[in-house]
């Protein structure tokens, strides 16, 4: 399978401009022979929306969403936008689109609200994590901060995920003599996920500046052995292509049998016991 990660610079609050941007990058991915193209978190809207959230929110039954889904006629597309639910709650949602239709929608479970981030002021929390079947195997979606909660990757792994897709808006921050701490941390986290769960990880992070904050890029494809197969440069718009060996998950899980040995009942029992001790059950 050939995947393309579209490390783009969305325009803040500009739905139609970003739809055009998607068209251009999808066309390029197709020319390069990719079967799946992944865009970053909030690729349809930009990140620092604040009170613009309401202006760019769409429902899954809207014409705007239909025009987005239509981009996936000849290539599978993962992209992200502000979804407004029937109850008018807004979510950071990510759609897996294929053959012109919505296959799966993931609502960000942990909108990040500490330090420089203020997402829960504007967004509701998703309450479900589910894999879904694709032509390339079982896929799990985690959006940015979701990947900092290892239990979510664990749940997807238990559901059979062979491929974790992680669209993100991760800023450049914490510079040291060795470079940006934020980039190093992402590498460590995602390599750990790929290694522990024996799955592919596609990390697509945006670039560009909004309100003084620079998004890092450095999108990565990591194989089920935990090796970085391909990585995009820091800060530059890039279409990162990677060839993914269909047998890699099979081979990785022959060498490391954690999934076979994993005791989900132990986790369940211990969590229940822990919650009971804390008086939360």
């Amino acid at each position: 399978m050939r995947v393309a990660l579209a490390q783009i610079k969305p325009q803040l609050g500009q739905w139609s401009e970003n739809l055009d941007l998607h068209r251009q990058w999808i066309a390029q991915a197709k020319v390069q022979g990719a079967q799946l193209v992944v865009f970053p978190e909030l690729a349809m809207t930009g990140y620092t929306l604040k009170d613009l959230v309401d202006e760019v929110a769409i429902s899954l039954s809207s014409e705007a969403f239909a025009s987005l889904a239509a981009l996936s006629m000849e290539i599978d597309v993962v992209t992200s936008f502000v979804e407004e639910s029937n109850h008018h709650v807004r979510y950071i949602s990510t759609a897996y689109l294929s053959k012109g239709r919505l296959v799966h929608c993931h609502r960000k479970i942990y909108p990040v609200t500490y330090g420089m981030f203020d997402e829960m002021r504007y967004f509701g929390k998703g309450d479900q994590v589910r894999t879904h079947a694709t032509d390339f195997g079982e896929v799990g979606l985690l959006v940015c901060e979701d990947a900092w909660h290892p239990a979510l990757g664990y749940l997807l792994s238990q559901q059979g995920a062979e491929l974790l897709i992680v669209p993100s808006c991760s800023p450049l921050r914490g510079v040291t003599a060795e470079g940006w701490k934020s980039i190093q941390t992402w590498e460590h986290l995602l390599i750990a996920d790929a290694t522990l769960f024996g799955c592919w990880v596609f990390f697509c992070n945006r670039v560009g500046y909004e309100d003084g904050v620079g998004f890092a890029g450095r999108s990565m494809v990591i194989d089920p052995f935990g090796e970085i197969v391909s990585a995009a440069p820091v800060g530059e718009e890039t279409l990162l292509l990677a060839e993914c060996d269909d047998t890699a998950v099979h081979r990785a899980r022959l060498g490391a049998q954690m999934l076979r040995d994993e005791d989900a009942y132990l986790v369940l029992r211990e969590l229940q016991a822990t919650l009971a001790r804390r008086g939360e059950l």
Binding site: T48, L49, L52, A177, G179, D211, G212, G214, V234, G235
Partner: protein
């Protein structure tokens, strides 16, 4: 060959200069570009901070699209003027030299008793006023030159040297400005001279602040970036007195780092619950 040590750089404040320069150049291009401009105006004092801002602006826009401005008062040191000229010559940009002596003196003829601080603040605001005027003529935005150490300590004039449209160096401590300035090729004579606001002859930052920038930056980094408490800072060799003095300065000068506070009357108040990105 190891680089010659020009200053003490605390190890925790060392930075990957190439990575930071790339980020700051992109920042200037994008934030100024989004406002509809592709040119910049920088006031040059002859010091290291404004020299670095000028080098970054030229990297971002090219020499022809950066206007460097010298604004001496009659007591400004001649070396400062020469050092600023060295930046202009090195970068090959257009430049202006506008003396501010006449207008400052005309004003203070009404207040002959005015002290040095009052005169210094007035000069800083006069320079700001000139930069914003030239910004209109040159069709470029004013690039800031205040570093994080100064911003945290409030060591600058509100609506004077602290004013700008975009500031590439406001999240770099002085010790980090030094590393980056050297990396970007700021002339050596500027790197090695003692930091000074140059508001009166012989003025020195480190004398006024009562410590070297290396010490102050270590303390600020511990307080702000690492969130250490008093006991931990004392463990790192700082006196209680110094920690408390710096904390007091940071608190007292918070107002300089914020927009003017607005009295809330309506249901949707600018800054409180009317919240749009700056890049709206």
């Amino acid at each position: 060959m190891a680089e010659e040590a020009l200053w003490e750089i605390p190890p925790e404040l060392r930075i990957d200069c190439a990575a930071v320069r790339d980020g700051l150049v992109r920042f200037l291009r994008e934030e100024i570009g989004r406002a509809g401009f592709h040119r910049a105006v920088v006031g040059l004092s002859g010091g290291i901070d404004s020299a670095l801002s000028a080098f970054l602006a030229v990297e971002a826009f090219g020499a022809d699209d950066v206007l460097l401005v010298r604004m001496p008062y009659e007591t400004s040191s001649p070396e400062s003027l020469g050092d600023a000229q060295a930046v202009i010559d090195t970068l090959g940009t257009p430049s202006e030299t506008i003396a501010i002596t006449e207008q400052i003196d005309a004003y203070f003829r009404q207040f002959p008793q005015a002290d040095a601080l009052r005169r210094g603040n007035k000069m800083a605001r006069e320079r700001m006023s000139i930069l914003y005027d030239l910004s209109r003529v040159f069709d470029g935005l004013v690039v800031g030159t205040s570093n994080k150490s100064e911003l945290l300590l409030g060591y600058g004039t509100q609506f004077g040297d602290l004013a700008s449209a975009v500031n590439p160096i406001g999240d770099l401590y002085k010790s980090q400005v030094r590393q980056l300035a050297r990396f970007c090729g700021v002339p050596r004579q500027i790197l090695i001279k003692p930091p000074s606001a140059d508001l009166w002859p012989g003025q020195s930052d480190e004398v006024e602040l009562g410590s070297t920038y290396a010490e102050i930056d270590r303390l600020l980094y511990g307080l702000v970036d690492q969130r250490l408490d008093l006991e931990q800072l004392i463990g790192r060799g700082f006196s209680t007195e110094m920690v408390e003095q710096v904390l007091k300065r940071m608190r007292q000068n918070q107002y300089k780092r914020r927009m003017p506070v607005i009295a809330k009357v309506s249901t949707r108040t600018i800054g409180a619950d009317f919240r749009y990105p700056r890049d709206w």
